[in-house]
Amino acid sequence: MNTTNNKEENVEWEKMGQEEKKPPKITELVKLMIDSNNQQKKILEETKKWLQQNGNR
């Protein structure tokens, strides 16, 4: 092993989803993206509804 680096412990492979660890930050970002998409969807659905009720008046 390298003796010049400043890391504290030996690295080990881990199997994802099997350790009791907090999911990586990327999951927060993906959740935000899903939220954003759902909000966009809501706007589109409301617009559609409004156009169907009022569009030809």
Binding site: N6, V11, E14, K15, P24, K25, M33, S36, N37, K41
Partner: protein
């Protein structure tokens, strides 16, 4: 230069990240524009609609701002990226001095593998492997004497089990059922280490030992392709949604994942999709062949001599109708065709018979009597147009491209399986059962079934009185790549009365059917072909631009024509946008699953090498020696490595690694 190549980029270059940063704002702007357009043209109360949507738009902008804050921290981080996705081009990994790459295997792991090998009946093989690769004279006597052993990484199968590329420098192994190339985790890791020393790759990271460096390595692997290929495909899709780029369409209109930074993963995903496609719809492997000179054949060349010289009434070696065994190819007959590589013939079966008629034979003329040479219908030989279904895509390619002039021969289907000691780690690896064939004259003439036990698998091999001549694909089976034999076996023997040296006795031939392939029917025109191309095909990013203009002008044109129709157009447009968002969300859910639960149906292993001083050498050493490496029983794996310099890379690790 090895087939792996480094790419250098920033996270901000990633299409998905770009979309994250701009999608929300763009969508709301586009929506505003559309709503204004719609309300103006339709003389509707646009202000009222905007008031109705106001709270939603406000909420959307707040979310977009949060995303922007999140993304701005890391979108400009620079890093190097390397993919190792199994194909036939990888060579045995070497370091800068040309020596094989070594991976550390722990003594505890060796001891466990020794026990597993003994239980699987591989004691001798494991002992030989330990002597050659670990330097342990008698591993079962002394046990593993060291805490760690550096093991040279090369081909995974022992020499005796290699059926192709046995002695060359190719690293990957061809899977005998699916036709996909596969690599073990050791091979993927060693290839990554070698890629860091590849001097011909000018884009590789070249960090000195005083530089700070960190890396993140992901390995995705499955142990049984036939059971896990569909799971693997979903992981590929999640990977591509995050790391990949825009989808493109090829000239035939088929969607091709462009891959973005993950081009290797995209290609591998396409191959897996093709393999799954064959399993679900085997007719994709069909090729139509015209085969002439078809006849029944009595046994081998030795039989031919006996038949022609030793019988009282000579019996023809090649025969037409009227024999005790068939003289034509029949539906579902298992056949072999041209050789795709040394020692290996394409396998397939007859899925359809388009036509059968008598072949023609030349009749010599008699010039003295003024009778010219002519032809007549053969009483022995026939000509058939057959649809042959390749067992795998590779077989189908062989039938399509190498058939002309080759022999088509009826053979017996056979199941095979192997158990071996992985040469890079000592792991016991089982393969099978998989599809194979045996030439009919080679079938043993015995009374009882030929049963073989390979580890926990019991295989029944064909015999002369029970040849497995007919097969079919079974897409609904647990293992759709494994052919299903039809019937209990056919007796392909024919008994002849012989007279040899004035003694009368019996002679048995094992009969088959053989023909000459005239040519495959190919729908494609010969090369070169003209290509139909548009400016937007050449400049990929312009696709979106042109599409937007088309959509806008179409909408405007239609609105001018008919206000009622325009309303429906806008509603259709909104429906399409809603569907698009639902599709994106489905993909995002997969990414979420990939990073939060790891999709446990397949193994996703990560190695986080923290940022520390040491440069390239530090990363190589950690890769070589990291504990708890994914086991080499995962025989189909691909790897993905991100490597960066300095503290900035730590932000990337924080983003992608569980804490």
């Amino acid at each position: 230069m090895a087939t792996t190549e480094w790419e250098s980029l920033t996270l901000g270059q990633n299409k998905t990240i770009q979309k994250i940063a701009t999608a929300a704002a763009k969508a709301s702007e586009l929506l505003d524009a559309n709503v204004k357009l719609a309300s103006g043209t339709l003389k509707a109360a646009g202000i009222f609609l905007q008031g109705l949507l106001g709270p939603y738009i406000l909420l959307l902008r707040t979310t977009a701002d949060t995303i922007d804050d999140f993304v701005k921290d890391f979108k400009n981080i620079g890093f190097f990226i390397l993919e190792v996705c199994p194909d036939g081009k990888y060579i045995l990994p070497k370091d800068a001095d040309g020596n094989p790459i070594k991976i550390l295997v722990g003594g505890i792991e060796i001891a466990a593998n020794a026990s597993i090998a003994a239980a699987a009946g591989q004691t001798i093989e494991f002992k030989e492997w330990a002597k050659e690769f670990l330097g342990e004279e008698d591993i079962y006597l002394t046990g593993a004497q060291k805490a760690n052993y550096p093991v040279e990484v090369g081909k995974s199968q022992p020499p005796a089990n290699r059926t192709d590329n046995a002695n060359d420098n190719k690293l990957a192994t061809l899977d005998r059922l699916t036709g996909l190339y596969k690599m073990t985790p050791s091979q993927v890791i060693a290839t990554m280490i070698a890629a860091m020393d590849d001097e011909l790759d000018l884009r590789r990271p070249q960090l000195s030992s005083s530089a700070e460096a960190g890396a993140l390595v992901m390995i995705v692997g499955v142990s049984d392709l036939t059971k896990n290929l569909a799971n693997l495909q979903s992981i590929f899709k999640a990977f591509l949604t995050f790391f990949g780029g825009e989808e493109k369409k090829d000239k035939s209109g088929k969607v091709v994942a462009a891959g973005g930074v993950a081009t290797g993963v995209a290609k591998l995903g396409s191959l897996i999709e093709a393999a799954l496609g064959q399993a679900n719809d085997p007719s994709k492997n069909d090729t139509t062949l015209t085969v002439n000179g078809i006849c029944g054949v009595r046994g081998t060349e030795d039989d031919k001599i006996v038949l022609s010289t030793s019988f009282q009434n000579k019996i023809p070696y090649c025969f037409g109708a009227g024999g005790t065994t068939p003289n034509l190819f029949e539906l579902n007959d298992f056949v072999v065709g041209p050789r795709v590589k040394f020692g290996q013939r394409c396998m397939g079966y007859v899925s359809k018979i388009n036509s059968t008629e008598a072949d023609t034979e030349a009749v010599a003329g008699v010039p003295q009597l003024g009778i010219p040479a002519s032809t007549k219908e053969s009483e022995i030989y026939s000509i058939q147009e057959l649809v042959i279904r390749g067992v795998t895509e590779l077989d189908a390619i062989g039938f399509r491209t190498l058939s002309t002039g080759a022999k088509l021969q009826k053979v017996s289907f056979d199941y095979r399986a192997t158990v071996s000691v992985d040469q890079n780690s000592g792991t016991v690896v089982k393969e099978g059962p998989y599809n194979d064939f045996e030439y009919i004259p080679n079938l043993p003439d015995q009374e009882y079934a030929d049963v073989e036990t390979v580890s926990d698998m019991i295989l029944t091999h064909p015999i002369a009185k029970g040849a497995f001549t007919k097969v079919v694909h079974n897409p609904s089976a647990d293992n759709p790549w494994l052919l299903k034999k039809m019937g209990d076996g056919v007796d392909i023997r024919e008994v002849h009365t012989v007279r040899i040296d004035n003694f009368i006795g019996k002679h048995i031939t094992k009969n088959t059917v053989i023909g000459d392939i005239l040519s495959p029917k190919t729908p494609e025109a010969p090369h070169p072909n003209f290509k139909a191309s548009k400016l937007e095909d050449l400049i990929g990013d312009f696709n979106v631009f042109f599409a937007s203009i088309d959509a806008l002008t179409d909408t405007l044109r239609k609105m001018a024509d008919d206000a009622g129709k325009a309303l429906q157009d806008i509603i259709d447009y909104l429906d399409s946008k809603i569907a698009e968002l639902e599709e994106i969300n489905a993909a995002l859910q997969k990414i979420l699953a990939l990073f939060s639960i790891g999709l446990p149906a397949a193994g996703i292993y990560t190695l986080n090498i923290p940022v520390a001083v040491g440069g390239n050498d530090y990363i190589k050493e950690e890769l070589q020696g990291a504990a708890n490496a994914p086991p080499d029983s995962l025989d189909f794996t691909f790897g993905f490595m991100l490597m960066g310099e300095g503290k900035a890379f730590k932000t990337m690790q924080d983003l992608l690694i569980p804490s």
